[in-house]
């Protein structure tokens, strides 16, 4: 065990330090991104491993613990595994991988595949067996790996069931799954019981518990943490892109645990709600988008509502189309879309439409204001606007 001297007031003894992370989801495809942005996003989630490696070196940690869902699935191309290993070689300390619900240790597990077995770097270990594993002298990781996609019990509780007194050993539990306090489905068989886990903590049998599955970094209790995904994967994640640097006092592990969240992710997923009522609103939204730095690593979901004239809507569409080319993606979240297009006098008044053409436009305008067919009529008017734009 490498020993660290606390940078604090020095009143603490030697410390053990490791990086806790989870949910790398390697091999995940982000279909919501543009085709052009997807490889960049995939690459980013390999790059983040290298970033973790740099952090490990910088903070001189003893090992890296990855709590499940290292891979998006067991059914991945071997190149994903090979690229992951390549990235993992940038991590100089031992890395412990816990099989999660996405990559369980079932009969088709990626961890037992020929590629994995043959090419796995020596410092990378799979926590395949439930129960304690000594990762360093005096340090045990109590692993609760998933052996299939639908376990019928609290795997963490089971892994900890036979633990004796910790004595001189630091015990870190590595688990994966939803904890019951955060799980809306409280009857779920596989939910991790926080109470039971906390009881183990309180009894001093374990000193730290790192969980995977929740991509947002979350502190459940003082010593029970979701490490979160080191790179964002979905728009609903509240605090992704972090890893945890955990310090444990080897002399008094029960006394103090220091958990620091370090942001390593480079991508941002944002959801923006805007009510648009005028050309100024449109311009403000476009300005806001323009103001983003790192657009190519940003995906934006827009919740749009309000009312725009045909002309303003056309302006908005053109602007968003342009921005979508620059950003990782700019998407209008259809479910939250409530933007009406109402033609005003300015839209077609100066076209000099007479007779039947005028009648047709009037009819479309009327249609645009009611359902069903309103959206389509709005589109038709938008199109008419576009077609007549040249003659203005």
């Amino acid at each position: 065990m490498r020993l660290h001297t606390s940078v604090g007031d020095g009143s603490y003894g030697d410390e053990m330090r490791f990086i806790a992370t989870a949910d790398w989801q390697l091999g995940m495809t982000a279909s919501y991104l543009t085709a052009e942005a997807r490889p960049r996003f995939a690459q980013a989630r390999l790059d983040v491993i290298r970033a973790i490696g740099e952090l490990a070196a910088e903070r001189a940690v003893d090992f890296v613990l990855v709590c499940g869902d290292v891979f998006e699935s067991n059914q991945l191309d071997r190149q994903v595994v090979l690229r992951a290993f390549d990235a993992l070689r940038a991590v100089a300390v031992p890395v412990y991988l816990l099989p999660g619900n996405h990559d369980p240790l079932d009969s088709a597990s990626i961890y037992t595949s020929a590629t994995f077995r043959d090419r796995c770097p020596d410092h990378v270990h799979v926590l395949a067996e439930p129960g304690p594993v000594t990762v360093l002298p005096g340090v045990e990781v109590v692993a609760a790996p998933w052996s299939n996609k639908a376990p019928l019990c609290d795997l963490v509780a089971r892994a900890c069931a036979d633990l004796g007194p910790s004595d001189d050993v630091i015990r870190i539990v590595a688990g994966h799954g939803v904890v019951d306090t955060l799980n809306p489905d409280r009857d779920s068989l596989a939910a991790i019981s926080v109470a039971a886990l906390q009881a183990q903590v309180d009894a001093g049998r374990i000193h730290m518990c790192v969980l995977g599955d929740r991509h947002s970094t979350t502190q459940v209790t003082e010593r029970i943490w979701y490490a979160g995904a080191p790179e964002v994967t979905d728009r609903d994640e509240t605090d992704p892109g972090n890893v945890l640097v955990v310090d444990i006092d080897t002399a008094q592990p029960a006394a103090r645990v220091a958990v620091e969240r370090v942001h390593v992710g480079r991508w941002e997923f944002e959801v923006a709600a805007r009510e648009l009522g005028s050309v100024e609103d449109v311009d403000a939204l476009v300005g806001w988008l323009d103001g983003h730095s790192g657009k190519d690593r940003t995906a934006i979901w827009l919740k749009l509502s309000g009312t725009l004239s045909v002309r303003d809507k056309a302006r908005l569409d053109a602007a968003l189309e342009e921005q979508a080319e620059i950003f990782g993606s700019v998407l209008i979240w259809e479910r939250h879309y409530d933007l009406s297009v109402v033609p005003d006098d300015c839209d077609f008044g100066d076209l000099g439409l007479t007779g039947f053409a005028d009648d047709a436009v009037r009819e479309l305008v009327q249609m645009a204001g009611c359902e069903p067919g309103g959206a389509e009529a709005q589109d038709a008017l938008g199109l008419l606007y576009r077609l007549t734009e040249a003659s203005r």
Binding site: M28, D359, A380
Partner: protein
């Protein structure tokens, strides 16, 4: 627009000419062909379309041939609010000038003038209307395209405001263009990118579905693998208690096997004890049998001895009897022999007597026989010498008779020759000198010759020859007979024959006597017999031969004596034979007795041997095991059998208590259970291996990657397609809405146009005439007298007239203000005079409000138009 005046200089054949047109009303421009009536529209076209600098063919075409001048056109028109004069000279000293007289005087030149004129015209004249109202030479049958003419539409649509330049056609065109990006114009089928993205969405979705299915399959297999693993664990767990149970049952089974083996052994023991007992009992029985036999043998021996002693007594008696009988027989025999000797002597005497008698008789017979034989021999010798018998005599006699008869016949028939010598001359008759008279029958020929004198030849006739020959034959036969019997004549013969008969009788008698004497015997034998008999009978002593009587008497006495002796001898012999028979019978009995005795003796010997054998056997048996000991053995065997049976019964009880059957059933069940579990294990393992193989195949295929990639592609495609779909829907709605409104509007226009057309048409075609007009304002059909005829099926005249009527109606509807002049260039050539008359009326009517310019080379055609002003163009 109204054209007020056209001035042409150096324009085709025209050197200089000004044509003034009626601003309202009809101007008929008359002129022969080639003079240039068509120059009017041509000049208007040139001045509108070409810059003065143009050297286009249309421009150069109008230059007068061979003149170095520039064609010049001056046009004075009123259009909209403008009154203007527009002048253009082409090719030579080209120039353009526009003088605007009203509403605000203005003068422009050059390009500016050209552009301004264009602007003013575009502002005030609908080019389509202008085109529609011109009937170009040779194109008079075609209907004008009226539907797109804005002024007409404006005129027809009461509410429409004045449309902007280009109208809505450009917009509709752009909508159509946009529509065509997504749909085919005819059938509205999806096309282009929209179609392609739909196909891409479908194919990508299919790909996603396939991949999802494959992934689902893989996950099913993984789940199945886990299930099998669990099952295997269960089966293994289930196997353990079954194995334990099986083990316990098998040990019970082994114990049971031991019991069965023990029962088997005890049963063998019982069988052995039974055998031993049986054997001992058999030995006892044998011993009893042996003793009994020995006793039987003793009895038998004893009985034999008694029987033998009886038999020997009887034999002794019998021997005595036999001896007595034998001696009696011997005595009788001797007596009989003596009597027999006596009898033989008597017989001898008899024989001797008989021999003597025989000798005598034999001698007699020999003598008689000898004598008879001699007599016979003598007779025979005589006969031998005399063969002439009665037959020969008869033969001789017959021959002699025949000869005589033949000679008589000869002599009677033949010529008779008589010769008598009469002179002394020698006469030769038949060679013989006749010495006497000669008489002879001439039988053949006779020659009488007197030598030197005469020769007479007498010849017999035919009959004479034959008779001579017959006589000669008989004579010959006769001589032969005589010669043969060596006899001289018949008498001698008859004597010889008598002797012969006598001798024959004698010989016969002698032969009979000989036969009597011989009495069948041979003489020589008789002599030998006689010789022998004589030698035997006649002893030297008695060489005499007794007489016959004596010998017979002697014989009779000897016969008597011999008979007596024979009787006595026979009686004695009979008696002796009886006695000997009795003696022989006694001896036979004795012999039988002896045989019997010998047999009995042999039986006795046999019985003794048997007795000794049985005695020995018994002794030997007893020497081996005394009777007492034998009894002990039996008792022991009985006891052992009992013990063995008891032991065996105990074992069987224990075996049945062990429940072999139940154990078998339970054991079988446990074994089957075990087997089934083993089979399950095997099958599950096999399944597991199979699945393992399948999972290994799936491994590394990156199904999830592919699915995600395909899903992303699908999202992309759907996004693109969604956008296109949205736009397509928009354009479809837009187009549909516009088209519908346009069609509605057009159909609203159709009514007033139809009314205007029919009003004019009725002037030409009669009051019942009706037309059907399309929304495009084209005449589709005409109905007259209840018969509807499509426009295209109408006669050329009717088509032309209707086409002109359509233009006139249009011009009338548009009115003078917004209108354009109606130009009819060489039109109505198809019309008959009646129609022409009525068309003239129509033109006159329309001419009240509109400018009409008629260009024609046939002035008569339009003579009937009342208000027409005629302008004549003459050849320059």
């Amino acid at each position: 627009m109204k054209i007020l005046r056209i001035r042409l200089e150096h324009f085709r054949g025209i050197t200089s000419r000004e044509i003034v047109l009626q601003p309202a009303g009809i101007t008929v421009v008359e002129g022969p062909n080639e003079v240039g009536k068509s120059c009017v529209p041509e000049a208007i076209g040139l001045i509108r379309s070409y810059l003065d600098s143009s050297r286009a063919k249309a421009v150069t075409d109008v230059r007068p041939v061979g003149q170095d001048v520039g064609p010049k056109v001056e046009l004075e028109v009123v259009t909209g609010p403008y009154h203007l004069v527009y002048t253009k000279q082409f090719l030579w000293r080209p120039s353009t000038e526009l003088r605007i007289l009203a509403p605000r005087p203005e003068q422009l030149a050059g390009r500016e003038a050209h552009d301004r004129f264009d602007t003013l015209l575009a502002e005030t004249l609908d080019p389509q209307l202008w085109d529609a109202l011109q009937v170009v030479q040779g194109d008079s049958l075609r209907q004008p395209v009226l539907a797109r003419i804005e002024p007409l539409r404006t005129a027809l649509g009461a509410t429409d405001a004045k449309p902007g330049p280009g109208g809505h056609d450009a917009l509709i065109g752009r909508i159509e263009q946009e529509y065509a990006r997504y749909f085919t114009s005819k059938t509205g089928k999806v096309t282009g990118d929209y179609d392609a993205t739909a196909a891409r969405v479908a194919s990508t979705r299919q790909q996603v579905d396939q991949l999802r299915a494959r992934l689902g399959e893989a996950e099913d297999r993984i789940a199945q693998y886990a299930r099998i693993e669990a099952e295997l664990r269960q089966v293994c767990a289930a196997q353990r208690p079954v194995l334990r149970e099986l083990e316990e049952l098998r040990s019970r089974r082994r114990r049971l096997d031991e019991l069965e083996r023990a029962a088997e052994l005890s049963r063998a023991d019982v069988e052995r004890a039974q055998a031993t007992q049986a054997e001992a009992e058999r030995a006892v029985a044998q011993r009893g049998e042996l003793a009994a036999e020995h006793r039987r043998r003793l009895d038998e021996h004893e009985q034999c001895e008694v029987e033998l002693s009886h038999l020997e007594q009887r034999c002794t008696q019998q021997r005595l009897d036999a001896d007595l009988a034998a001696s009696a027989a011997a005595e009788a025999m001797t007596a009989a022999e003596q009597l027999s000797a006596r009898q033989r002597a008597a017989d001898d005497a008899l024989a001797s007597a008989r021999a003597h008698q025989d000798l005598r008789l034999l001698g007699d017979r020999i003598g008689a026989a000898t004598a008879a034989r001699i007599t016979a021999a003598e007779a025979a010798a005589r006969l031998e010498n005399n063969p002439i018998d009665d037959a020969i005599v008869a033969e001789l006699q017959a021959a002699q008779t025949g000869l005589l008869v033949a000679e008589a016949k000869r002599d009677a028939g033949a010529p008779r020759l008589f010769v008598t010598s009469l002179g002394g001359r020698r006469i030769d008759v038949d060679g013989s000198t006749l010495d006497a008279d000669h008489e002879a029958a001439v039988t053949s020929q006779s020659v009488v010759e007197v030598p030197g004198v005469v020769r007479v030849v007498v010849c017999a006739g035919q009959d004479g020859h034959e008779l001579v020959a017959a006589a000669e034959a008989c004579a010959h036969r006769w001589q032969l007979l005589l010669d043969r019997h060596v006899i001289g004549d018949l008498t001698t013969a008859r004597d010889a024959a008598g002797r012969r008969r006598h001798d024959l009788v004698e010989r016969q008698l002698a032969r009979r006597s000989l036969a009597e004497a011989l009495d069948g015997d041979d003489l020589d034998e008789m002599r030998a017999r006689h010789e022998a008999l004589r030698d035997r009978v006649l002893t030297p002593v008695r060489r005499t031969t007794p007489s016959a009587a004596a010998s017979a008497k002697c014989v009779r006495g000897a016969e008597r004596a011999a008979g007596l002796a024979r009787d006595a001898a026979d009686a004695a012999a009979a008696s002796a034979a009886d006695l000997r028979a009795a003696a022989e019978a006694a001896a036979g009995v004795l012999m039988l007795r002896d045989v019997e005795r010998i047999k009995l003796q042999q039986r006795l010997d046999g019985a003794r041997v048997e007795r000794e054998r049985t005695a020995r056997a018994l002794q030997a048996s007893r020497d081996g095991l005394s009777d007492n000991e034998l009894r002990t053995v039996v008792a022991h065997a009985v006891k052992r059998l009992h013990d063995a049976v008891v032991l065996h019964d105990e074992g069987r009880d224990e075996l049945s208590a062990a429940g072999a059957d139940e154990l078998r059933i339970v054991l079988d069940n446990a074994a089957a259970k075990h087997e089934r579990l083993a089979r399950d294990t095997h099958e599950l393992t096999a399944q597991q291996h199979r699945l393992r193989g399948q999972l290994d195949d799936i491994e590394g295929q990156g199904l999830k990657d592919h699915l995600d990639a395909a899903g992303a592609a699908l999202d992309d495609a759907e996004r693109v397609h969604g956008r296109l779909a949205q736009r397509a829907a928009a354009v479809r709605l837009l187009r549909a809405t516009f088209t519908r409104h346009r069609d509605d509007a057009q159909s609203r226009y159709v009514q007033p146009f139809t009314q205007a057309l029919e009003r004019l048409g009725r002037l030409v075609f009669g009051p019942e005439m009706r037309v059907h007009v399309s929304p495009e304002l084209a005449i589709e059909s005409v109905t007259r007298g209840g018969v509807t005829v499509p426009f295209e099926a109408l006669s050329g005249g009717a088509k032309e007239q209707l086409a002109v009527l359509g233009r006139l109606a249009c011009a009338q509807l548009v009115g003078a203000g917004d209108g354009a002049p109606v130009v009819l260039d060489d039109s109505l050539g198809f019309a008959d005079p009646g129609r022409l008359e009525r068309m003239a009326a129509v033109l006159n009517e329309v001419g009240q409000t509109n400018q009409i310019i008629v260009l024609t080379c046939q002035p008569d055609r339009f003579r009937s138009i009342g208000s027409a002003v005629v302008v004549r163009l003459d050849a320059a």
